[in-house]
Symmetry: C2
């Protein structure tokens, strides 16, 4: 069973992207950080952070962790559906 | 503040990779699936699934979700440190 689709061509579900979006914004706002301040703190570009927060990115584990560390939450928290621990 | 490092060059922490490794194996074994069976079920290559389970991959959110769906767990569960919900 070869001929698999490269994972880079897949997209996360809308549900998971919506959870990440909501949790990321909640954690950022709980820290009273602007997207720009979070970008500086995580050494990512401001527009990239914005696109992740809008649920437009198939982020890597390392990016998810970088954002979590910058926000003082766990990577798993950012993926919790229903808001989880990252809720403000 | 431009000149950021592309996120593709970052690696997840050893701690996070170890958690993913442990949770993935526990969830797979709880389902009594071989790595090969999980690979078939998730439409990923067998050797790729093995490398993710060894904590060698900076997986994307979509790959994390694909594996979680195939195992009947939540993506967040696979990142829980200390074993979390994915523990067998």
């Amino acid at each position: 069973m070869f001929g698999k689709h490269p994972s880079a061509l897949r997209k996360p579900s809308k549900e998971l992207l919506a959870a990440l979006s909501k949790n990321l914004r909640a954690a950022r706002e709980a820290q009273r950080l602007s997207q720009e301040a979070l970008a500086e703190r995580s050494d990512l570009h401001r527009t990239y952070v914005g696109s992740v927060e809008r649920g437009e990115r198939n982020v890597s584990l390392s990016t998810l962790e970088t954002l979590a560390v910058a926000l003082g939450v766990e990577p798993a928290d950012l993926l919790q559906k229903g808001g989880g621990h990252a809720r403000a």
